[in-house]
């Protein structure tokens, strides 16, 4: 029986791999997700056959409650709030790993078992990863939901305190592994790990969230794998490793898209007042030049008579939930014979693929979405670039101002288009706290206001052009 259960776990892991493979193409992705869900169902079913389980009542209770909450969350969540949702799910995965390891620890210690080092180390590692994932994800989700300030929260001695906490965790962990079991120390270990999760995420600012969400995604996988180590289950280890690898790859992609190292994202406090400094001479000169405002009417004429338009969405689009208006405007333009494309920067929004999901919700065909490398050569042949709530990812300073904090970040070459229309709420600088010289360019026209309202006005005007 045990062998059979283990083989079912292996089958589940295979289904997860096949499912993830199918996720590589939009046409097969939904099927891939179903295959993966079947794998999960098999794994759960096999576990119920395990003879170690004596009572099913409480399990059933947990399954019903968890399923109901999960279903409700998945149904009501807005596509714009997907980063928070994924963040929270990451945290729950981590929390589950923490609780499993703690429960297993309590069971063994109460039974009077002297934990051998190889088991002890897996338990402590599992509670540690689980706790950091749980508290870190909760903070990340709170920041994304703006329950906590999205700005980096920094204080004096932050790095020293973090280092001391890490050392304390390692110290207590090794003492517990090789020394006698000690409940108070075990609780202290978990408390410190939870605190560490909070402290690691609070100094990270809003626009760096894509990296953090990816990293926590990876942690949630590693937490699952560590649970596998605790209960000696191969299926869990394989599955957790898959998710861990996925998160690591996405983290790397995000860091590369910002031209920053992971260490810089995690410890740099990027975008804080301290990092941005005061306005420099160059910025002052730019601000003195002033911006050129445009009316919706004039912008509509520009768009309506263009041959080609590239739409560049950013976080502002998500904030005002203007994805349907974008699509409506694009439809109108296309009816007039204007070619419309979308340029998606990898870190636009708050998580990888955020813009793609929003535009997919508005039924924008995915073959009209282009990533940076594909679309950049096209800007100089384009009549109008329409920037909607994007800022740092279109800042030419990343290319030509070596003193800018953004310098070196690969950007969308919006400034090379013949005309640029920027939809923006106000002249507040972007997340990085850096002025954007694109806004002051001679080809640039600013249309201020909430993205959704501005687009609605544009749509009305284009209809009359």
């Amino acid at each position: 029986m045990t062998a059979l259960i283990q083989l079912v776990y292996l089958l589940a892991a295979v289904l997860f791999i096949v499912g993830l493979k199918r996720l590589a193409h939009p046409a097969t992705a939904q099927q891939g997700n179903l295959i993966s869900a079947v794998g999960m169902l098999l794994a759960i079913g096999a576990t119920l056959l395990d003879r170690q389980i004596l009572s099913f009542r409480l399990i059933a209770l947990g399954v019903v409650v968890g399923s109901a909450v999960g279903l409700w969350m998945a149904r009501v969540v807005k596509m714009t709030a997907m980063p928070q949702m994924v963040g929270l799910l990451n945290g729950l995965g981590g929390g589950a790993s923490l609780l499993v390891a703690a429960g297993e620890w309590h069971r063994l210690v109460q039974a009077g078992v002297r934990l051998p080092a190889n088991i002890a180390v897996t338990i402590y590692a599992s509670t540690l990863i689980g706790a950091v994932t749980l508290s870190g994800s909760v903070i990340a989700a709170a920041k994304l939901q703006e329950l906590v300030s999205g700005r980096p929260i920094l204080f004096r001695g932050q790095h020293v305190i973090n280092l001391l906490l890490v050392l304390a965790v390692l110290g207590i962990g090794s003492y517990l592994t090789f020394g006698p079991d000690h409940p108070a120390l075990f609780i202290a270990l978990n408390a410190i790990a939870l605190l560490l999760g909070v402290l690691l995420v609070i100094p990270i600012g809003g626009a760096d969230m894509p990296v953090v969400i990816c990293l926590l995604n990876s942690y949630s996988g590693l937490a699952a794998a560590s649970t596998g180590f605790v209960i000696g289950n191969h299926g869990l280890i394989i599955t957790g490793a898959l998710v861990g690898a996925s998160g690591i790859i996405l983290t790397q992609i995000m860091c590369k898209a910002m031209n920053r190292s992971l260490a810089n994202v995690l410890f740099g406090g990027f975008g804080s007042a301290a990092a941005a400094g005061g306005p420099d001479a160059r910025t002052m000169a730019l601000a003195a030049r002033g911006v050129r405002e445009v009316t919706a009417e004039d912008a509509a004429v520009l768009l309506g008579y263009a041959r080609g338009v590239i739409i560049v969405p950013g976080y502002g689009l998500a904030v005002s939930q203007a994805q349907h208006q974008v699509r409506e405007l694009a439809d109108l333009l296309e009816k007039r014979g204007v070619s419309v494309k979308y340029a998606i920067h990898a870190v636009a929004g708050r998580m990888p693929g955020h813009m793609n999901v929003l535009l997919a919700e508005a039924n924008v065909p995915y073959d009209k979405l282009f990533d940076m490398d594909q679309i950049n050569p096209e800007f100089e042949r384009t009549d109008v670039a329409l920037v909607i709530g994007a800022n740092d990812v279109v800042n030419p300073a990343a290319r030509n101002n070596a003193t800018s904090p953004l310098y070196g970040m690969p950007i969308l070459d919006v400034d090379r288009a013949a005309n640029v229309i920027v939809l923006k709420r106000s002249m507040n600088p972007g997340f990085a706290g850096v002025e954007n010289e694109l806004f002051y360019g001679s080809k640039t026209a600013m249309l201020f206001g909430d993205a959704k309202k501005s687009l609605t006005r544009l749509i009305a005007e284009v209809k009359t052009v």
């Binding site: 794998g39 999960g70 589950a96 309590h106 949630s220 998580m351 693929g353």
Partner: protein, 97 residues
């Protein structure tokens, strides 16, 4: 100790499989990839069910049941929301709003 070593071997090889598979996912699908892989990490449900059902100690059981709830939210929430997203990515016939 050999047991632990076997587990580490499995873990390491599975990481490489993960790298191979995930690298092929295009940026367009990165959000569903995250929520989908997230649902998969809810596999911790196996451990949670074992701890909840063993009837070992009261504390362990309570921890186990809460872990089942957490993991189940992760599993169901993750799969359903991923499905919701992926349905939107399916190609729509021309002219449909």
């Amino acid at each position: 100790m050999t047991d632990l070593v076997t587990l580490i071997v499995i873990f390491t090889l599975a990481m490489f499989v993960g790298f191979e598979v995930i690298t092929k996912v295009p940026p367009t699908l990165h959000t569903p990839l995250m929520s989908g892989s997230n649902a998969i990490s809810g596999i911790t449900i196996i451990g949670a069910m074992l701890v909840a059902g063993m009837g070992a100690t009261r504390v362990a059981t309570v921890f186990g049941v809460i872990a089942v709830v957490f993991a189940m939210i992760n599993v169901v929430g993750g799969y359903v929301v991923t499905d919701r997203m992926l349905r939107m990515f399916k190609k729509k016939p021309e002219g449909e709003g």
